[in-house]
């Protein structure tokens, strides 16, 4: 579905991506892992044609219209309501406006439909940005750190939605520096460090290769239990 071959990108004298290769299969959740500044967003920008690579090539099995995008900067229209934000894009895509309401229901924002975006919490903004990304039912979804800075309950609801999208046929490409999130969600991952892919494979296979399979205390479940969060609350 997505293939990157020998991509190199430089900004001034600094090489941000050096000979990057990876492959994403159809209907999988692929994670691009790496610390801040590793080049994850640059890869998304190249794949979505917002930036040109200096050398190398890439292939995507979807048109621009069949691609959904959620970035760290949400680009929402602050003064408009949640519904108006999505209606603008529904009209641009030429799809029925009813789909805007359906997308809001999918991310659990139906009660905030008429609320102005500037009155939303960070988690709600993230969910609205995700609703905009899935509005036109894209084949490929690019998610740049989709749960960064969110509380565990909101993060979990976004995880569940991502899995649902994948089950419905979408290919998901996400970047993260949250290892736990990636282990939970991704079928395959590539580890990016200083612009180079240093490891790739399924999370379990990578951990086995590095003797890193261990049982860790699940603090998140404790948090969920103590805050009264129920699985059925998940969107």
């Amino acid at each position: 579905m997505i293939q990157m071959n020998n991509i190199v990108k430089r900004f001034s004298n600094q090489t941000v991506l050096s000979d990057v290769n990876f492959k994403v299969r159809e209907r999988e959740i692929f994670g691009l892992l790496g610390p801040s500044g590793a080049g994850k967003t640059t890869i998304i920008n190249i794949l979505t044609n917002q930036l040109n690579a200096d050398s190398g090539s890439f292939k995507i099995g979807a048109t621009a219209f069949e691609t959904g995008l959620m970035l760290d900067e949400d680009g929402l229209f602050d003064r408009l309501t949640c519904l108006d934000n999505l209606t603008v894009f529904a009209d641009i895509y030429g799809i029925p406006r009813e789909k805007a309401k359906a997308a809001l229901r999918n991310v659990g924002l139906e009660d905030a439909m008429k609320k102005a975006v500037l009155k939303l919490s960070r988690g709600m903004r993230q969910r609205l940005a995700l609703a905009r990304a899935i509005l036109h039912e894209p084949k490929i979804l690019f998610l740049d750190e989709p749960t960064s800075g969110l509380d565990p309950a909101t993060a979990r609801s976004i995880h569940k939605l991502i899995k649902k999208l994948c089950d419905n046929g979408a290919t998901v490409f996400l970047t993260s520096h949250n290892m736990e999130e990636v282990v939970k969600l991704c079928d395959n991952v590539s580890l990016l460090y200083k612009g180079k892919i240093v490891e790739e494979g399924s999370p379990v296979a990578i951990c086995e290769r590095h003797n890193a399979i261990k049982t860790v205390p699940d603090l998140e479940s404790v948090f969920m239990k103590l805050t009264g969060y129920r699985e059925e609350d998940v969107i």
């Binding site: 979505t48 917002q50 621009a64 219209f65 995008l69 970035l71 900067e73 949400d74 680009g75 929402l76 229209f77 602050d78 003064r79 408009l80 108006d84 603008v88 894009f89 009209d91 641009i92 895509y93 030429g94 102005a116 905009r132």
Partner: protein
Amino acid sequence: MRSAKTIFIKQAKDTMKNPSSLIQFILFPVVAWLMTEFVAKSENFEGMPVNMFVVLMGAVFAGMGLIMVTAGIVAEDIEKKSLRFLVMAGVKPNQYLGGTGSFLLVLGSITALLFGLIGIFTTAELVKFVVVLIACVANSIILGATVGLMSKNQQSAMSLGMPVAVVLAFTPMVANFNETIYNASSFLYTQQLNIITNDFTEDFTKAMIVIFINMVVLIVLFSLAYWKRGLRS
């Protein structure tokens, strides 16, 4: 066309909820009306032209207000990355600017008409005044969009737009007191507004030609900014 229409509607909803933009379209005619009613028409100021404040505030609105509003709107969408998402969804930058600009032109034209109704004009004068004011509004929208495109954020749009707007809005006023400045500024569209509205017997066609030439120059400048910003591709 569909995208430009969508952006037009989006801009209408957005501006109606943005008091700092909306006030520019209301404040100037309100001040003109107050000054006309309580100063220009007052017996204490005999000899003062009755339309003085209508013409003055109209020039400031067309030469200053519109530049700042348009620059602010475009810069905000660039700064918050909203333009990026629109472009990613398939909106061409010219459709975005066409939709935004045409909404501002409609709103600016309504304000121009308000100015005309506040003043005391004959029908012929009213038509000339409104037409020349709308033409200046159109020029200022193009100039404001250029300033917005050249800016990284709203703050830099204000810093860049303010000196341009001040020169355009106030040069015609200063020109009334200095012949050299009067002659030098006659190529500015705002000066043509000043010339026509001060004396409706002046050559209207010549004024409109100068305003049109200004428009062509501004479109060229806008295209350069558009190209420099990398929006063409």
